[in-house]
Structures are given as structure tokens and as C-alpha cells.
Amino acid sequence: MAPPSGLQQSAIPSDFETPYPALVRSSTAPVTLMNGQRHAHHRPDPSHLSPEDAFTSASPPRRPGVFDVGNASGSEMRPRRMRRKDDASRSRSRRRKRFQKLLWVKQSYPDNYTDRATFLENLQRNPRVQPYDFWPLVADSTVIVQHVCSVIIFIVCFVGIFQERVSPVSVVGWGSFATFMGWLLWDWWVGQEEQNGAADGVPRAGSLGREFRPPRRQDSEIALPTLNASTTSIYGTSNMPSAASSSTNLAQEQHSQRPALVGNNITNGSSLLIPRHAHSKSTSSVQSATSQTSAAHARQNSDAYAESINWVAPPPSRWGRAKQRLSTIKSAVLITFTLLGLSPILKSLTRSTSSDSIWAMSFWLLAINIFFFDYSGSWVGVHKFPVASLSTNAALMASTVLASRLPSTGQVFSLTLFSIEVFGLFPVFRRYARHRSWRYHVILTVLLVLGAGGGVGVVLGGEEERGLPWKNGLIGMIVGCLISAVAMGGCSWWLIGLQKYKNEIYGPWDPARPIIISRRHWDDE
């Protein structure tokens, strides 16, 4: 490279004759960047704008001739821009030079020259858009349908109890029975996975140890759960935050490698943990806390991880699981009786509040529950509780205020217990069922839709037709199925239809997203 000497020192800037080798943008750009995804599409790509697109909103097909002057094809056809009388020959010789998107070069073009070949060459439209397919979208929407249906079923049960058409004991009885069956099923599933996982758990754990990166953040402080007087706080505060943060961490880290790691997580988790159940909340949360501490320790340095795997990996003894089951049942009984003791207080909690406010409040709380529920399907292991603490808290508060409208202590107790089952445990079961098998998920969805539709039908049928509740229920089921089908299909179709309005623009002006490996502070930006 032969840089200019001091000879140019006194030269007027305008006489500066570009002593540097002709550089185009591509030569200054590193090769890696050029090969990168940003530059994956080049000029002929229709996703690039041409200059005239900038001011014609409809972005018409390119008109040749109008703007083609700067095209790379015709360097000799350069327009006679900026013709000057004094040095026509010199400027013509300069004009042959390609326009370069550089500032330090003295261009032979006017400042407002717009080069068609390079203008907006790095613009990308909708680069990160993933087109939706109809059926996967419908399938994903079943999660929402499930949750909405379970909320509807809860409301129907409340109305039934409130109108004294359904015995509260039967509601809570059936609910608890279903919960118990669900727990048995869960326990069985977990046992199965454990056996599968024990077979090939250790080698996978080894690979996991290698792939793990240093933790972004260590959740070493773990809130020990306390069995509070209020049942909501058990769900809302005790172990959720730590579980939430660590589960999101894991979800982020493992997003790409999830297929290989899911089983592994389950192995680790289940080897440490009892299966989670409703009434075992407080006990198992202690254990999940210990598991997280151990996990955090294990992840603190990758070197130590291998040893810790060896410590984690041995398959749990039969004795351990029996003990866990026992403690689950123990805590279930504990919570039940606490709730029983609290019921009189809950009953008179909002006596001075008018019913209208209660209805409005519970409506909003349930709406919050539906909108803030964690619908993400990411399964991060048995010991990771699916957490949407705002959602769960809102639902339990709604059930509490609704229960306070009920006249008798038994009804209050039934409804609150039922709400814990519906809002606290059922989502976990649903998620696990979905993770377990798609068929279970579909069956559950259909059952929920039928149940919700039938329940609404019966409730709306009114009391005078006491003779024919099944007819109303059947109509309700059919209508419910229709509505949910139309809603799922219609919303999916609508969302796909809306995609054509998507117009994200990315270009070199966007702040780059730094890729930092050893980042410690993950939250601040």
C-alpha cells in the first residue's frame, strides 16, 4: 500500500485524486460478515427495496429506464450528470469510476446521487418471520382452549353450588377423585420415565456436562416455603420465583438442544424429586429447593459438574419414592385441614362487599388468569413447576372472593379446594400430559370442551327444566364443540391472513445485537 506522502499536505481537498486503491464496500467488509445471514440475500432478491420504493408506498414493480441510470450494467451509459464546462474531459474520466459507498473517497458524483446498485442493498424485509402453517397453529391453540375450558368448568361449578343445584361435596369429591387419579397416573408416568432414564441417563448426563455453559445467574437464595395461613401464598410466593428463573434460564440455554436434553432433565429431576402433587406442594417445594441448590452448585463450574452428575445419577431407591409419596399425602392432608380451618374466615371475608363488585372483581381476576397464563409448551423437567404466578394468584383470589359469596362453610371449603385443584394442579398435569403424548392431549382437550359446553348448557338451561338437564347438556356440548372448532380454526386462519401486513425492516442502521459469551448481567439493557 502506498499512502500519499507529505506532497498532498498542501493540496486543496478538492484536488485530491483518490490515491488509495479503489475500494468497494465488499472489500472493506470482512468476509465472515459478507457470508453472514445479513448478506444472505443479494441484490436481485425481491425483498430488497429499490430506491423508488422508498417514496411510493405500494412498491410497484421496478420500472427500467427511470432509475436504471446507475445500474451496474451500463457504466458507459452513465447519465451526463453534473456536467461541467470547465473540466468535462476529466470529469468524464472520473465518471467511469464506480460509485462507492464510502465517505473518505472523493466521489465523482454529486452528493445527492443515488446509486441504484448499492442503495439499500443491505435492507432486509421480514428476515425473521416464520410463516405459520394452519394445522400446527390449530394444534397449538388447543392449549388455550384447554385453559379457557377449565376456567369455564370452574365457573359452572361455582354457579351450580351457588344456585344449590349441585352438592358441593360431590363437586369436591369428584374433583379430588380426579386429582387423585391424575396423581396416580403421574406417578406411574414418572416411574416409567425413571426406568427409561436410568438405563441411559448417565452417558447423556455426561454429554450434558460438556455442553453446559457457565451459568448466567445463580439462584442461590431459595425461598423456603412456609405453610401460610393463606393458601394462595403457598402457590404464589414460596418456591415459584426461584423455579421460574431457573426454568427460564434452562429454557433459554437449552432451546436448541432440547430434544436431546428433555429426557435428561427428567432423569435428573425425577431422580431427585418426588412427583409433584397438589397437596404435596409445601413438602415437595422444599425438595425442589434442595434440588435447585444442588443444581446451582453443579452448574457453578463445569469441571465440578461431572462429579455432581455421578452424585445425581444413581437411580433412586424404591424406598425413596415411597417416602416421597408418603410426604405428598401428608402435605395433602395438612393443606386440606388447614383449608377446612380457614373456611369460616373466608366465608365472612367479603360480607360487607356487595355482590356486584364481587362478580366484576372475579371476572377481571379470571380474565387476568387467562391472559397471563403460561401457555408456552416448553417442558423443562418434572421438577420445574410451570409458573405463571400472577395468573395463578389471580385465579385463587377469584375463587376466594367467589367462595365468600357462598352461605355455608362446607361450600366455601369445597369451592376453595376445587379451585386449588383446577388452577394449581390441573395445569401441571395438562402440561405433562401434553409432553407425554399428543393423544392424551387431544383426548383431554375434547373432554374439557365437552365438559365446559355441557356445563354451560346445563347452567343456562335454567331450573324450570329440571327434568331434562341432559338435553341442555347435550346441546351445550355440541355448541361448545362448534364454537371451539370455529374459534380455533378462525383465529388461526385470521392470524395467517394478518401475516401479509407484516413489514419489518432491518438494515445496517439497527443497533447491532452484541454476542457476548461470558456475560454476567443478563437483565440490564
Binding site: F55, L103, N112, R519
Partner: protein, 488 residues
């Protein structure tokens, strides 16, 4: 005889506040005055700076009292600036209103009022904006409003031009690219005593600065320590760079919310003796910091132009910078090593730069003269003058916009926006109406109100009652020199 203009530069950002826009305005103004124009600057009142001030060279600054809300940007009131603006414009006999910086509401308002008063307007954009976040969308809509009716726009880099054209839906031909510049005299490298003798022979290049294989290499970073300046990258990269390369040290100047992260990094890695944090430095001291180093590291995540890397190169530093925004356009490749905005790549690029310096492959001692020929404010002033000539009709339209008369028909849609713009209210309303379904109507309403205010002001404060202010004696342009430079 080249025409001379009365130009009002309007921006919220001006001295005593330091910054890139501020010095751009000042340098451009003084160079324009050197070329025989009359330039005044309108900004808002700063602490201790109110009323009218004269700066060097007879540059007159009006500090208009205004409510400052955020980082010295004034509260956008749309109309309240009009009376005093009209008064200033009339008494200074302004022809061209030149606004700076897209975050300055004073600038936007003055462009609107100037068009209402029938003046030519130019807007200079200094920054890049995305299209995704809410703040950008709002700013872009506002920019579209202002730039619906502007005569010409100047951007500081080609990337900035693309950005502005997209944000404000402009005709690319009415957007010029005129880079920033540096005052090369203020950013001279140090000469060692042996060099001063050879320096007197200006024909000879200064001798190469030989760097032994074990000489310490100092890497300088001067930036505000904010997220978008890439301080996170810097924090992550410094320990690795220092680990890989013994005999290197860092000097970091600047302050900001991310300084604490840097300090923490230094503490954690026990690098107190190899990383020196200077805290905030004044702009005039920047050169003294720069000349202490060999490499300038610029990890920014977004940058419209990046004046600081030009300054660093002018001081004879080898520049390592992230390839974002307009930075790749700024310096030739023999002065820079580009990195992707990734920790690994930044470390690798710095390593490459250190290796190149150790091998004495880079003639950094020549950078100053080269930069001096690339960027000068005089050149910027000449190019800006051409814009003024173009919009006021001194250069013919075809010459300025560079299209043939035959093609003019197909440009009719855009021609309304560029060059021969009609000042008739109805034509202006047409231009504003296209801004959006709701925004267009709202903007039209604003323009109509603005016009009514203008009429009322004409009634209340008639033009004849406003004193004309006496002009500072203008410089006589050296005609031959000016012609030569103008011809380029």
C-alpha cells in the same frame, strides 16, 4: 459572483453543551461564514447562556428561552416557538433555515414555521433510528411530518441516508450525503524529537514509528459508556485481550451508566495496573489521551458516522471498530480492522491489529496527513453550499437533481417534493396529507393552524415594525480559490 445567503442554523443542541452535533453546527457555520454567508444559530437557553451571544468570527447565537425536558431537548409545543422565530428570521433577513438533529423539536418546529413563512429549508440528520420500538415509531412519524415539506435533507453517511429515506419516505435525490469532518490541526499525532527536524521538510513522509516486539501497546477507548456504545462488548473483551497479549494496556475515557460494569470487571480480574479509567474528558483533551495509545478500539453498536474514529486515525492510531451503521464508510481499510459486534470477533480483530502493529506493517505515522486530505470542514461547507444553491435555484434543477428533461415527466410525483416546491398552502397540505390515514389529517390541521398563527402575527406584529439588525461585515470570498474548490 457566487450567491451568498443568510442562513439560520436551528437546533436544540449547541454549545455550551459538548457533543458531535454541536461541534458540527459550529464548524459548519464558521466555514460558511468564511465563504461569505451570514450565519446565525438559534438554540434554546442553557444554564447561564441566555439572550444573544456572539462567538468567534461573528457567529451570532440566539438562546431562546424554552422548557428543556430530556437531555437538553425542548418540549415539543409545535406553535409556541413561532412568534419569536418569526421575529428573529425577519430581523436577520434569513433566506434558508437549516435544522439539525432529528431529536430536536426546536429544529422540527422551525422547519414547519419556515415553510409557512415561505423560506427554504434544509435538514441535517445525524443519527440512525430503527423501525421496531415504540419510541422510534413516534420519532419517525414526527420526522415524516417535518420532512414532508422540506427542500433538502443532508445525511452524514450513506447508511444514514438510507435510514432517513426510509423513515421519512423521501425521494432519495433530495437527500445528500455530506460527512462530518474533523479539525485535523486539533488531532495531530505527537512527534518525537528526531521527527521534528524531518518534519520541516514537508515533502518527506515522517519516519515510521518502529515498534519492538516487546514494547508495550496501549489501546485507547474513548466513548460514553452506554449500552449502545458497546460497553458490554468492551467489558467482556478486555480481560481476554489482556490475557492473550502481554505488554498491552488499556486507557478508557468517558463516563456513563456502564462504567460500574467496567470497574467491576477490573476488580474481578485484578487488572488495575493494566486498565486505566480516566473518567470523563473534555473534548479538547481527547487528543492528549489519544496520542498516548497505539490502537483505538471502538466497540459501538450503532453509529451514524463515528467522528471519533476519524479523530483517532488523525492522531495516528490504528482503529479497531465494529462494523455497524455508517462506520465501514468512514475510513479506508488500511487504517482499520473491522470486527463483528461479537465478543470473539472483537478479541480476534484486536489481536490482528496488535500483531500488525508489532510487525510494523501499519504506517500509522502517515494517517494524519491522509485523514487531513479526506475530511475537512471547508469541504463540508462547499458541499453544503451546493445544496443551498440547488434549493434556491442558483444551480439549475436538472443540474442539481441530475435527471434529464426527458425523464422529468416520470419524476413529477417527486418533483413536487424536491426543488421547485410550491409554497401555496394547498400544495403544502397535499404533501402533508399523504403522511398517513390519521396522521395526515392531524398534520394538515397543524399546518392550517400554523398558517393562521402566521396571519395573526402579521397583523399583530407587522413586518415594518421589526428592526432590521445590522450585519456583521461579511468576509469577501477569495474568488479564485472558491471557484477552484467549488469545481472539485
Amino acid at each position: 459572483m457566487a450567491p451568498t445567503y443568510n442562513i439560520a442554523m436551528v437546533s436544540d443542541f449547541f454549545f455550551p453543551q459538548p457533543g458531535g452535533v454541536e461541534s458540527h453546527i459550529y464548524q459548519l457555520s464558521t466555514k460558511l461564514m468564511d465563504r461569505g454567508h451570514k450565519v446565525i444559530i438559534i438554540t434554546h437557553a442553557y444554564e447561564g447562556r441566555t439572550g444573544v451571544r456572539y462567538l468567534t468570527n461573528g457567529l451570532k447565537v440566539y438562546h431562546v428561552p424554552f422548557l428543556v425536558i430530556y437531555r437538553s431537548a425542548t418540549f415539543p409545543t409545535v406553535f409556541s416557538f413561532f412568534p419569536i422565530f418569526r421575529n428573529i428570521v425577519l430581523r436577520e433577513r434569513i433566506d434558508i433555515v437549516h435544522g439539525h438533529a432529528s431529536l430536536s423539536s426546536l429544529c422540527h418546529e422551525s422547519i414547519l414555521h419556515a415553510r409557512t413563512m415561505g423560506l427554504r429549508t434544509v435538514f441535517t440528520d445525524h443519527s440512525l433510528f430503527g423501525f421496531a420500538d415504540a419510541a422510534s415509531i413516534l420519532t419517525n412519524k414526527l420526522l415524516k411530518f417535518t420532512l414532508s415539506d422540506v427542500d433538502h435533507v443532508i445525511c452524514v453517511s450513506h447508511t444514514c441516508k438510507e435510514n432517513t429515506v426510509l423513515r421519512a419516505s423521501l425521494d432519495p435525490l433530495m437527500v445528500s450525503v455530506i460527512p462530518n469532518a474533523v479539525v485535523a490541526e486539533n488531532f495531530k499525532p505527537t512527534f518525537n524529537p528526531a521527527e521534528t527536524t524531518s518534519h520541516s521538510f514537508s515533502q518527506n513522509p515522517p519516519p515510521a514509528r518502529q515498534l519492538g516486539p516487546h514494547d508495550p501497546i496501549t489501546i485507547v477507548v474513548i466513548s460514553r459508556l452506554f449500552y449502545n456504545k458497546g460497553t458490554d462488548l468492551l467489558t467482556a473483551a478486555i480481560p481476554r485481550i489482556l490475557e492473550n497479549h502481554p505488554n498491552t494496556r488499556f486507557i478508557i475515557a468517558g463516563s456513563g451508566p456502564k462504567a460500574i460494569d467496567l470497574e467491576q470487571m477490573i476488580e474481578q480480574n485484578v487488572l488495575q495496573d493494566r486498565v486505566e479509567m480516566l473518567g470523563p474528558v473534555r473534548h479538547e483533551e481527547v487528543r492528549n489521551v489519544m496520542v498516548r495509545g497505539h490502537i483505538y478500539l471502538h466497540p459501538s453498536l450503532t453509529e451514524a458516522f463515528g467522528t471519533v474514529i476519524v479523530e483517532a486515525a488523525s492522531c495516528g492510531l490504528y482503529v479497531v471498530c465494529t462494523q455497524v451503521g455508517g462506520i465501514p464508510e468512514v475510513l479506508p481499510s488500511h487504517m482499520t480492522v473491522f470486527a463483528k459486534p461479537e465478543e470473539d470477533d472483537l478479541v480476534a480483530a484486536t489481536g490482528k491489529a496488535i500483531a500488525a502493529l508489532r510487525a510494523n506493517k501499519v504506517r500509522t505515522e502517515l494517517f494524519h496527513e491522509q485523514v487531513k486530505t479526506m475530511y475537512s470542514w471547508t469541504n463540508v461547507a462547499i458541499r453544503t453550499e451546493r445544496v443551498y444553491n440547488g434549493i434556491s435555484g442558483a444551480i439549475s434543477e436538472a443540474d442539481f437533481y441530475g435527471y434529464d428533461a426527458a425523464n422529468a415527466a416520470s419524476w413529477s410525483a417527486t418533483r413536487g417534493r424536491s426543488g421547485v416546491q410550491s409554497f401555496a398552502l394547498i400544495d403544502r397540505l397535499k404533501r402533508y396529507y399523504g403522511c398517513g390515514i390519521w396522521a395526515g389529517k392531524l398534520f394538515c390541521l397543524c399546518v392550517i393552524v400554523d398558517y393562521l398563527i402566521f396571519l395573526i402575527l402579521e397583523l399583530l406584529f407587522p413586518r415594518e415594525k421589526i428592526d432590521m439588525c445590522p450585519d456583521w461585515p461579511r468576509k469577501v470570498v477569495d474568488e479564485s480559490n472558491g471557484r477552484k474548490e467549488g469545481a472539485r
